[in-house]
């Protein structure tokens, strides 16, 4: 074991800034989305891949993989969205276990109304204040961290 290595000043600063960024940016985007279109971040996350799919139709499993969610989370969210008329669940022809999620006209209208403002917000908060060089550094850094986490997960459960 030995003495744990605490974060040095530079690391602590980046870490606390990351936590604050997560909190503030996610919060600001969510508030804007709710205010302008009545959609939550979770709604928006699902509406994007659905709106890009042919006929606004996706297998639940496929939708979950595209947004990186587990089955349970997806199921709960789809249920809430179905109750509000944004999507409908349908049975899957090829695989009787499966479930299809289809965008309704109301859902398509909602994402269409919300997207421009949301993208504007992301641009205003994030990309307007970052240089092209910084974007490159961020992109590479984020990818490396993601690869590290994925590798660590594999080590914990190689079968997945």
């Amino acid at each position: 074991m030995g003495e744990p290595r605490w974060l040095d000043e530079r690391e602590a600063h980046v870490w606390r800034a990351f936590l604050a960024l997560q909190r503030e940016l996610t919060g600001a985007l969510e508030r804007g989305l709710v205010r302008d279109s009545g959609l939550s971040n979770a709604d928006y996350s699902l509406l994007v891949p659905l709106s890009e799919a042919p006929d606004g139709l996706l297998r639940a499993r496929e939708l979950g993989m595209r947004v990186g969610w587990e089955r349970s989370r997806l199921s709960h969210q789809v249920k809430r969205m179905e109750k509000r008329g944004l999507v409908v669940r349908e049975e899957c022809a090829e695989d009787a276990r499966g479930s299809m999620v289809r965008l309704t006209p109301a859902g398509r209208a909602a994402i269409g109304a919300a997207a421009p403002g949301h993208v504007d917000s992301v641009r205003r908060y994030l990309f307007d204040v970052l240089s092209r060089e910084e974007l490159d550094v961020l992109g590479r850094a984020f990818d490396r961290v993601l690869a590290r986490i994925a590798a660590d997960d594999d080590e914990a459960d190689p079968t997945r």
Copy 2:
């Protein structure tokens, strides 16, 4: 109005990587914390400033400001933690409206047991794969985005 400016390829990549990073990193840290010490991220967030305060005692308002939470969120979380014996609420002598939050011995033991492993996780996932130059870029970029969000909030409600 006019046509919305969508994200270019570089921006879209960074944005999706950021969303994935948020999801995966937060999730991995939370799972490790729960597995190793039975604490959630929310618990940990509050235990850190409390453990650094004299006598493990902080005014609720002060605690909320240190972690960047609103009053309601803090109140709910403190209630849950009090039920598990990690903290206790006490009345505030100087201001009868106020409420003090005090770390219990069990709470201090919990953060002491959890912190080394948690810091190790942050280091392993994040700082082990980032260079010193990247840290500098990240720190400056994050700060600039935070300043932008804060400025935008002020514009929306200058009284705050």
